[in-house]
């Protein structure tokens, strides 16, 4: 994958290269404030870019072959109609000490401008227009975080079973971890979004607490019948669908959980020109849909602080990738995600370790496992300790201690299984796929692929 060189594509639209040197740049192309004619021109162009993928609000009856001048006039009218942003403009971003401090504290690449950093802090709950919020960057960042994390886990621990893999992925880049990262970075969130707040704060429309009183004053918000719907409305989140691990891999998100916040086809507005059936009239003539009926609404659903924080960290990863390239994004990921210590051996939970171990030994054609007593103390006391090892032939596979012979035996089998699953190749043999992308000097080595987990 080649790095996108944004600066070569659109140099005139780029903000100053080094935000620390040119903090008070004369002209900010991303500004939404109206002042000089040149700026107005830029704004119009920017607005066109941003609204290109949004349904145009144009009256169906007045559609005509418009001249270019008329089109410009129409665009201006449209711009007047679009709602004012409910967050600090990008002009303020360069003046915010909080933003500059955050940029310096995280040692972000100087190619990443403060304006983009400010945009990463704007949650879609503040402004649903994708040209203004961090949702597009967050989608990219989520994929990058998931990719770099999963390739690291899989290449370092090729034998991990699928449930542990999902759990490890969640522990590294799950929303709670990303939210913790946001607090560790010292980024605070606003109480309520608005154009007057500091751009260095996370802008979100905060969800009401579940145990707050509802409007009727008799029950909690969380007890209201309009329960939050989880999932995408697809077949796999119906109540009778058996969500096995194969189904989780295919349908669900990178943590094996149901997708949240996806809109079903019923929620989305129809495409422009779609025939619409009227409930009352039975005539053949179906009126066509025009997006005019569904203007851009600022009445968005509130989100939790955790979800907004996760969105911010993901968006920042995406922004680092877009502005500074793959190497910077990988360094960012290494510094903030892979540096976290995860106790992988505590993620395992075996229900029948002895049975699994016998199956493993039969599968790999080892001698059947035998539990042998290595040492013991206080057999006749109230607190005995037995140390039992599981041997296959003359080789010790695992060792466990317990207050009874049975407990020590089961613990030893579980330890043996853990040491099987936690096998890691030598550090010099591990090459993750993203290491050999682009013009890197590293040579690809085939990585170990395990046969799969033990099936009993």
């Amino acid at each position: 994958m080649k790095t996108l060189r944004l600066d070569r594509w659109a140099s005139q639209l780029q903000p100053p290269r080094n935000p620390r040197l040119y903090l008070l740049a004369q002209r900010c192309p991303f500004s939404t404030r109206e002042s000089t004619p040149r700026r107005h021109e830029l704004q119009r162009r920017q607005h066109q870019i941003q609204t290109r993928w949004q349904p145009k609000r144009r009256d169906g009856t007045s559609r005509r072959q418009a001249s270019s001048a008329a089109a410009v006039a129409e665009d201006e009218v449209e711009y007047e109609e679009s709602p004012k942003p409910n967050f600090p403009t990008h002009k303020h971003a360069t003046r915010s000490t909080k933003l500059s401090a955050l940029h310096a504290r995280l040692s972000l690449p100087t190619k990443l401008p403060l304006q983009t950093l400010a945009r990463c802090l704007i949650d879609p709950s503040v402004d649903p227009r994708p040209g203004y919020n961090n949702a597009p960057l967050a989608i990219l960042g989520q994929e990058l975080l998931g990719y770099y994390t999963s390739e690291h886990i899989i290449c370092h621990y090729p034998r991990l079973p699928m449930p542990v893999l999902f759990a490890a992925q969640y522990a590294y880049v799950g929303p709670p971890t990303l939210a913790a990262m946001r607090t560790e970075w010292g980024v605070e969130h606003v109480a309520a979004p608005g154009p007057e707040v500091d751009p260095g704060l996370l802008q979100l429309k905060r969800m009401e607490a579940g145990n707050a009183m509802a409007e009727d004053g008799t029950q909690f918000v969380k007890d209201l019948p309009a329960a939050r719907r989880l999932g995408s409305g697809r077949r796999n989140d119906q109540f009778n669908y058996r969500r096995g691990y194969s189904s989780r891999i295919v349908y669900d998100d990178q943590f094996g959980d149901l997708h949240t916040g996806l809109k079903t086809l019923d929620d989305l507005p129809p495409f422009t020109g779609a025939p619409q059936a009227e409930a009352s009239e039975g005539s053949e003539d179906l009126s066509t849909f025009t997006p005019q009926d569904h203007p851009v609404t600022m009445d968005t659903d509130p989100v939790t602080v955790e979800a907004a924080s996760a969105g911010f960290v993901r968006a920042l990863t995406g922004a680092v990738y877009l502005h500074a390239g793959t190497a910077a994004a990988k360094a960012f990921h290494r510094a903030h995600v892979l540096s976290r210590h995860l106790k992988l051996h505590e993620l395992f939970h075996f229900t029948h370790p002895t049975r699994d171990l016998s199956r493993l030994c039969a599968r790999e054609e080892f001698e059947p496992p035998v539990a042998r007593l290595i040492s013991e103390t206080g057999r006749l006391s109230g607190t005995p300790v037995f140390v039992v090892g599981v041997f296959s032939g003359d080789d010790k596979l695992g060792e466990g201690a317990g207050v009874s012979l049975n407990e020590a035996r089961v613990r030893a089998a579980a330890a043996a299984l853990r040491s099987w699953y936690l096998y890691s190749p030598r550090e010099e043999d591990i090459v993750v796929p993203s290491d050999v992308e682009g013009e890197s000097k590293k040579k690809w080595k085939p990585q170990m692929i395990d046969m799969g987990e033990i099936v009993t």
């Binding site: 075996f350 296959s392 032939g393 596979l397 407990e407 089961v410 613990r411």
Partner: protein, 179 residues
């Protein structure tokens, strides 16, 4: 000056020029994969097997080649071979000795008088495991009866006994976890 302190000082003068490896007796780390679990392609497997292949009797005479080899030798000398350790449960070989006639007999006995021919008695008579008997034959008609009997016994338990048993079940769940 305490005698311990003096000892320390005298020891410090004769600093050995080799690594002292004397690990505490703790459970082995699960991240150190046993050599049997290493895949065939892993070079560490060959290292372990050569280290283990050095005969322990000759180790004091011939100088060990490296630190790893010497550590392996020391460990091999200090730990008895697996065959000398007492197994926790008697080792048994699977016999596969029951024929179709035997299995039919198990089914017949269990069906005729499930109260006399319990799983335990059948397993003893046919010299097989109780699990195998359960695979061959079951008696769902007496399951309710047994369950009621168990409930009757449990109802006589006091608070202490019941809670102790429940706690034991909870602790047993933790055996499969590393906590």
């Amino acid at each position: 000056m305490s005698p311990q302190r003096r000892n320390l000082q005298t020891n410090a003068k004769i600093t050995p020029n080799h690594i002292i490896f004397n690990p505490p007796s703790s459970a082995p780390n699960v991240y150190h994969t046993p050599s049997k679990f290493l895949p065939k392609s892993d070079p560490r497997r060959a290292l372990y097997t050569t280290a283990a292949a050095t005969p322990t009797a000759e180790a004091p005479k011939s100088k060990p080649k490296g630190i790893l080899a010497s550590i392996a030798n020391e460990r091999a000398a200090s730990t008895p071979p697996a065959s000398q350790l007492k197994p926790v449960r008697p080792i048994y070989e699977k016999k596969y000795h029951l024929t179709q006639e035997d299995i039919d007999e198990i089914r017949r006995l269990r069906k005729e008088d499930p109260r006399t021919w319990t799983r335990v008695r059948l397993a003893k008579k046919f010299d097989c495991s109780e699990f195998f008997v359960s695979l061959c034959a079951s008696a769902p008609e007496i399951a309710d009866e047994r369950e009621k009997e168990l409930e009757r016994i449990k109802s006589k338990w006091g608070r202490k006994k019941r809670e102790a048993r429940e706690l034991r079940q909870e602790r047993k769940k933790l055996w499969g976890r590393d906590v």
